[in-house]
């Protein structure tokens, strides 16, 4: 694990922009209000975003400003219409030109805290943007990305020239690209069929797992226990997620796994409410 870069004096503060101005045409109802694990996804996404930014805003179209879910948060209204998600970023950059924007689409129900934390850690303030490379097509993911202040001129010029696609903008710009840690973390959910599939698969972060730490892992995690919501499907994926958050030195081959107080295989499917313990090399007697 690499340590977080220490921002120098020239690094712009990071603000957050949650994009919730879409028309949800394919879904047929407001995507921001769709519930995952009993919680509107706009609220879930804001909770993921807020710890990483100085201020967080919801990007809306002017007529959505009073909608109750969106009205709970600070907002930035689009200035231009019908140019898609890039309208939100342009409006934000105009409102606060000297900050960098962590832009997040609200319809990424599989996004987990670790994926977002890794993006922020890997931020390259000297470049125009920092983004993940899609695990599906290798192209930049524009709607979970950081845009530095100096990206604004080129973005405004592209839009003025009729080029509204933020993915193409990132391809042409000086973009720091990262590999996605969780292959499905940035899958967006646009249709009722996709929504049903995600909920049926139980893949949404929001499967609640408790993890207890012992011995060396307890010291490295700095805690004995935690409850977390995770998209990890197996103990192997869960350990990989935790190893991005904590300075663990033990490779999974060195550990065993217990679920609900029994030894289990690393590929055992995790279920809601499971209690997981990763067992470092033992030394009793």
């Amino acid at each position: 694990m690499s340590a977080a870069p220490v921002p120098g004096p020239a690094v712009a503060p990071l603000y957050g922009l949650l994009l919730a101005g879409g028309r949800s045409t394919r879904m047929g109802r407001d995507k921001a209000a769709l519930a995952y694990d009993g919680r509107p996804q706009l609220e879930r996404a804001m909770a993921l975003l807020q710890p990483h930014v100085v201020r967080a805003f919801v990007s809306v179209r002017a007529e959505q400003a009073a909608e109750p879910l969106r009205a709970r948060f600070a907002q930035i209204a689009d200035i231009r219409e019908d140019i898609g998600p890039v309208a939100g970023l342009l409006a934000a950059q105009q409102r606060h030109p000297d900050v960098a924007w962590l832009v997040l689409a609200c319809d990424l129900p599989l996004l987990d805290a670790a994926t977002l934390a890794q993006l922020v850690r890997a931020r390259a303030p000297g470049r125009a943007a920092t983004a993940y490379r899609s695990s599906h097509d290798g192209l930049p993911e524009p709607l979970c990305a950081i845009y530095e202040p100096h990206s604004h001129a080129a973005l405004a010029a592209a839009v003025a020239a009729g080029r509204h696609c933020p993915r193409k903008f990132l391809q042409s710009a000086d973009t720091q690209l990262l590999d996605e840690p969780e292959p499905r973390a940035l899958d967006n959910i646009n249709t009722p069929q996709e929504y049903a599939a995600v909920n049926d698969a139980g893949a949404i972060p929001g499967r609640h797992i408790t993890v207890q730490y012992y011995a060396l892992l307890r010291e490295q995690a700095g805690r004995r226990e935690e409850a977390l919501a995770t998209a990890a499907r197996t103990p192997r994926e869960l350990y990989a997620e935790l190893a991005r958050r904590y300075p663990f030195t033990l490779a999974p081959e060195m550990l065993r796994v217990a679920i609900n107080n029994e030894f289990r295989d690393w590929s055992t499917p995790l279920a809601e409410g499971d209690a997981v313990v990763f067992i470092p090399p033992v030394a009793g007697g």
């Binding site: 207890q212 012992y214 011995a215 060396l216 307890r218 030195t249 033990l250 490779a251 081959e253 060195m254 550990l255 065993r256 217990a258 107080n261 029994e262 030894f263 313990v277 067992i279 470092p280 090399p281 033992v282 030394a283 009793g284 007697g285």
Partner: protein
Amino acid sequence: MSGFRFSHTPLEPERLRAALADPTCGGYAAFEGWVRDHNEGASVRRLEYEAFEALAVREGERILAEAVERFGVARVACAHRLGELAVGELAVWVGVSAPHRDEAFRACRYIIDEVKHRLPIWKKEHYLSGDSGWVNCERCASGAGAAATHAHPQRD
């Protein structure tokens, strides 16, 4: 009373032994593990034991049941200390009573070996130098020293 248990206070071998008395038994064997003042070249000042108790107690009971099954002994018990221990203190105790000595010795050996391999118990050594380290963890973690003998046996 037979069984596996943890103790946060000093173990009392006389009391543990008394629980294994059985008129059908002509042999009793016990093993005591003590805190030693050195390990792998370093001088040890004190130890700290920690366990994942819920799983360790279950697995400890399984080991004792296996010993009874394999060796046909009458009574078995094991107690393990947790917390801070000084050099010379009793860290683990195993006792077995059986009709004859041979199975008592063999069952006792089996139990302590399995306990050391299988139970989620960890030992942190505090050295005279002021350093400390989790036994079997710190050196493995540094990569090159990850000897296969330190890995968990994958039994199930």
